[in-house]
Amino acid sequence: MSSILAYEFMKRAFIASVLVGGICSLIGVFVILRGLSFMGAGIAHASFAGATLGMLLNLPPFPFSLVFALLGALFVGWAEKRGELRSDIPVGIVFSSTMALAILFAGLMRRYDPRILGYLFGSVLSVSWSDVIFLLVTGFLVIAFISLFYKEIVFAIFDREYADISRMKPDLFLHLLLIAIALVIAGSLKTVGVILVFAEIVTPAAAAYELTHSMKALILLSVTFGILSSVLGLLISLFFDIPSGASIVLVVTFIFFLSLIFSPKRRRLKEV
């Protein structure tokens, strides 16, 4: 382990993986409780379209990916609140239209930019210190938001109507939650890629959901699974020389199936 960390790029890769694993699995708890699992994929694709536009314009991809992720999240939130469309319809539209935009922007490039593949599948070994710092800032903001407004967020998620009657502004907090999800996705995109960021958000939280009836335990377990799978996945990828993103996601999927098999909730439900 110490010999691996002797390399500067490996240090960055480990720190970035742990941060992405921790932040994604933390926000993932609220994503699955709110029933927004599919939305994560929609925002990730919007973010990818933004990144390709940045590359097309020869500008840093990250600000574009962040703006696109935020616009995608806010569009879904707005469409859902208006209630004219079922929430899976705007997500489906964001998902497909932004992917079309990404392909269009890539097609308009004079020369193929190899970073496109990195954003699609992730390239943890190529993250820079500025990427790590951004992930740290994202993590700090997300943890601060959840710690400060935990009561308000949980209330809005579980009973939007009662929260509204109690004058607790549930729509404001649900929109802020969407912004936090967009921030996490845009920040994690370079490390794990469009396709796998979705798994890093949903799977640790889904595994933890099988194991506890307590909200706080759910958060702790989800973050533990997220970080554990990131470290184990990265180590496995190094030892067997396989892609790190795939290895991380397969480890967390394995944890999910273990949770499903040994779920005390399912056992208790059978008894009731």
């Binding site: 209330f155 579980f158 009662y162 929260a163 009657i165 607790m168 959901y209 307590s214 909730k265 009731v272």
Partner: protein, 248 residues
């Protein structure tokens, strides 16, 4: 008059569709009002207007006093990561406001209400594993911890077995006896008819409003439900039987 709820010519529309129309109603302190009517009559909308969740398109709503609200019982995820204690504590959040965390007083109040409802043993139970009747009691407890002066209940006994219906009715009776004004939407007046101070019959508009014994007549109810209705009294309870028009 010591009114706590006053609605004047209230109309609510959803785009072009009128949900409730020109409703004028005053509820006095200490009353227990039952609101009945067929499906789609706007009963739930009326409660939400009083609760401040829906702003009417026309008319004026005034409420004097804090409100506790018990929504219709919905199907919930059995795996929901909430325990009874957590759900009841949510009833204090409105009083706490933003950023403040629940303190000792809030926790004490939750345990006190659960004890009063003989549910202290349920505090650590997962919400998803409770029966419909138990869950309804939890939602009533959540409304009560906010120490409301007015309690709004949306079909609190619908979908529950007879035993659970009886328990919930007894509970609401106790709450009313403690001085809380109750407005309750219901499909089934039979278990609560002896305790209601007034009944409101509505179908978008208010059709009739008054004391149950004076207003509960086969003529009014038959018109409201568009089916023959029989009304009789037994042991102080006014019983309403809506016959199926199909068999006429």
């Amino acid at each position: 008059m010591d009114w706590v709820i006053k609605l004047e010519n209230v109309t609510v529309k959803d785009r072009d569709k009128t949900i409730i129309e020109n409703i004028t109603l005053e509820v006095e302190r200490g009353e227990w009002v039952g609101v009945i009517g067929p499906n789609g009559a706007g009963k739930t909308t009326l409660l939400k207007v009083i609760a401040g969740r829906i702003i009417p398109d026309e008319g004026k709503v005034e409420v004097r006093g804090s409100i506790g609200y018990v929504p219709q019982l919905k199907k919930i995820d059995e795996f929901i990561p909430l325990r009874v204690y957590d759900v009841v504590l949510m009833g204090r959040y409105g009083r706490l406001g933003f950023l403040k965390r629940p303190g000792k007083e809030d926790k004490r109040k939750v345990l006190e209400v659960l004890e009063r409802m003989e549910m202290e043993g349920y505090a650590a139970e997962p919400l998803g594993l409770l029966s419909g009747g138990e869950r309804q009691k939890v939602f009533i407890a959540r409304a009560l911890v906010s120490e409301p002066e007015i309690l709004l209940l949306d079909e609190p006994t619908t979908g529950l077995d007879v035993q659970a219906q009886r328990e919930i009715t007894g509970l609401i009776r106790k709450i009313h006896e403690d001085g809380v004004t109750v407005v309750m939407v219901t499909h089934d007046l039979n278990p609560v008819s002896p305790y209601l101070t007034r009944v409101v019959y509505m179908k978008k508009k208010i059709f009739a409003c008054g004391e149950p014994s004076r207003v509960l007549s086969p003529e009014v109810l038959s018109k409201l439900y568009n089916a023959p209705v029989d009304v009789f009294e037994r042991n102080g309870h006014i019983c309403v039987i809506v016959e199926d028009a199909h068999y006429e």
